[in-house]
C-alpha cells in the first residue's frame, strides 16, 4: 500500500513506477513535482523510478488557473 499526497491510498505492486502512480491517479497536469519518501524524482525518471511499498508519494501540482 502506498499513500499519495497524505490522503489517497493505492495498492502497491512489484515494479510500480512513478508514472504508474500518476496514471492511476489520473494526474495529467503538465506542471507537477513528484517526491517519493521526500526524495525528488526528475521528470525523465518517472517511467523508471520504482516506488517501494509503503511509500509516501507527493505529487505537487503547481496549478495556475483562476
Amino acid at each position: 500500500m502506498i499513500v499519495v499526497n497524505n490522503k489517497e491510498k493505492l495498492e502497491w505492486y512489484e515494479g510500480m513506477t512513478v508514472q504508474d502512480v500518476l496514471d492511476k491517479m489520473g494526474y495529467v497536469y503538465p506542471r507537477i513535482t513528484v517526491s517519493v519518501n521526500d526524495r525528488l524524482v526528475q521528470k525523465e525518471d518517472y517511467t523508471t523510478y520504482e516506488v517501494p511499498d509503503n511509500a509516501s508519494v507527493n505529487v505537487f501540482h503547481l496549478a495556475h488557473g483562476g
Binding site: G26, R31, E44, F60, L62, H64, G65, G66
Partner: protein, 671 residues
Amino acid sequence: MATKTKAGPTKYEISINGKAATVVEGTYLLKAVMDAGFNVPTLCHHKDLTPNGTCRLCLCEVEVNGKKRLVTACNYPVRGEITVNTSTEEVKKHRKNLAEMYLGRWPNVEAIQNIAKLCGATDKEKYKSELTDENPKACILCGHCVRACSSFMIQDILGFAGRGIKRHLTMPFGDVDPHCVGCTSCGYVCPTGAIQITDDMNNPVDPELIRRHGMKVNAEMATLDKLQNRMREVGTANIVEVMDAYDLLPVHNFKFGKHPDTPKIDSKVMTRDYFTQGAADACWLGCSMACAKAVDGFELKTGPYKGQKVVVDGPEYETAAGGSNMGGFDLDFIVEYNFYCDTYGIDTISFATTMAFVMEAFEAGIITEEHTGGKKLNFGAMDEALECLHEMARGEGFGVEVGQGVRRLKEKWVKELGADPDFLNDIGMEVKGLEFSEYVSKESLAQQAGYAMAIKGPQHDEAWLIFIDMVNNQIPSMEDKAEALYYFPLFRIWFGLLGLCKIVWNDVAPADNSKYPPQEAAKIPEHVENYWKFFEGMTGIPVNEEKMLLQAERVFNLQRLMSYYFGRGTREDDLPPLRAIGPATVEEYLSREERYDKQMKEEIGIDPEGKTVEEKLAITRDHRFKQYNIVLDASYKRRGWDENGVPTIERLKQIGIDIPEVLALLEKPEQ
C-alpha cells in the same frame, strides 16, 4: 547503453573527456559538457536563447561509431552514445585561429579579449584589416539581440542584413521600426554594450532593477512556457482538458465536473481549427507571455451581424467552460457567444452561469416554454441560448429576465411562480448577487470559501485554491486553509492595485521552484520577489512580505467595511449555495456515489449502507455546511474579523486605519 522505456525519454551514457555522463536524448552537447563540469568558450551562446552556432568557438570533437568529427556543441543535440573531447589539439588550434580573427576585427571589446585569452590568442595584428573596429563597445554580430527580440518578445524588429563582411545589425529597411515597444531585451542581452538603453519612461527610481527582474520573466516565457502551460500557444484555454481530467470543469450548471464531449471544445481543437492570432499585442503591447488569443474570419450564424466575418478576442478558459456549463460542447457556439457578449458589453461568465441556471430550472419544470417565449431551454440548447443573449441586448422578451442574473431570477420565480426557494437557493450559483466563475468547487473547502468570501462575489481572483487544497492536500487543517485564505487574497489584491498581471505570477514557474517546501512553492517565491522588485524599482521603497501584506490588508479591510456599510459584508453574505459545496440533487449524488459514500464512511463516520439516496444527500449536506462554517470561523479569526465577518476595531488599529472616516463605516446607514 541507451535506456528506453515505454513512455519516458531515452537516455544515453556518453563519455566527456573520459568522464561518464547520462544525458537525456536531445540535450544540447554544450549543456551536457557544462553539467559535467567542463568549460568551453563561446561568444554567441546565451542560456535563455535558442542556440545558433554562429561564433563556432564551442567546437568539440565527437566520436560516433569510431568516426571523429568536429561539431559546434551549443546546437548539437545528443542522439546516441558518443565520445566527446572538448580540447584536442585540433580543437584548440581551430579555437585559437577563430579567436585571433575576432581579436583582429574587434581588438578592444572586452568580451573578445576574454575569449582570446581563454583560447590562447594574443596576436592582435595577425588579422588586422580595413574591417577592424577599435570601438570597445562595437557590435560583434553575436545575434543575442536578434534572438532575444524573437524569442522573448515574439517580434522580429532586429535582424541581420548583408552577407559576409557586409553583415550588420539593423531594423527593417534601416529605419526605426514603430513596432518596437522599447522592451530593452536587446540591450539587456548585448554582451558588449553596443546597444544602450538611453531613455527610461515613467521615471522609475531604479530602472536597472526593474529590467533585471523583467528579463527573468521574459526568459522564462521563452524557455519554460512551452514545457509548462503553453500560454503563448493556447492561452488560458489550455486548462479546459485539465479541468475535465480532474472533475472540475463545470457541466450543466455545475452539477458535474467532466463530460465525454469535452474533447470537442478543448485547447487542441481551438489551436487546430480556431486560433489565428497570438501575438504580444492583445492586452498589453510588449507582453512577452502574449496569452491573449483571437479567431479571425469567424462567420457569425445569428444576431445582427449574421453572415459577417468577424475577429473574436478569445475564447479564454472561462468562456469555453461557460459553454460546457450550458451543455454547449461546440466551439462555433462558444466563439459566437463570446463575440456577442463582448459586442454587447455582457460578461461571458455571468451570462453562461445564469443561462445554465435557467436551463436547469427549465428542465426541472420551474419555468416552461410559456415563460421563455416558446424557447426550449434544455441543456445544450445553443441556438436558444444565443437568442436569449440577443433578446437581452435588444431589451425584449425572456432575455430581459435572464439579464437580471441568478439572484433576481430566484426571487422572481419564488414570488411569481411559487417556486421552491430551497431548491433554487441550492442550485442558483451566486453569492452577493454575482454569478460563480467556471470552476467546480465541491471538493475543496478552501476554494469554496475563496469564492464565497470574495468581496465582490464568487470570483476566483482572490483565492484560487482548488489544486493546493483538493489535489495536493497541502493545506489539510482548517488553520492551514485559513492561512491560505489570508495570504492569497492579500497578495492578489496587492499586485492588482499596482496594475500587475496575475498571469506572469503563476502561469509559469521557475524551473527550480520545487526547491521550496510545498506551501511556500505554491506562492512561487521568486515571482513574488519579482513583483516586490518592480515596486521597489518604480518607487524606491523596498517591500517584503510583511510590508506587502500590511499595504494590502488596509485596502482589503476598507473594501470589506464598505461592503458592510452597503449591506453586503456579513456572514450571511459569505454563504455559498449548496451546489458550490456538495451535491445538491439525487442525480448529482448518484453520479459520484462511490466518492460520497466513501467520504461518509471515512470522514463523517456514518455507514452509508442501507440508507436511501435522499438520506445520504441530507447527511452530506449537513456535514459540508458544518465544515464550511468551521473554515469560515477560522478565516474570520485569521483576518481579525468578528464571528459575523466584520473587521474588529482592534484589527483596524493594528493595521493603522482606525481613523474616523473608516470607523464611521461600522455604523450602518438606515437601510
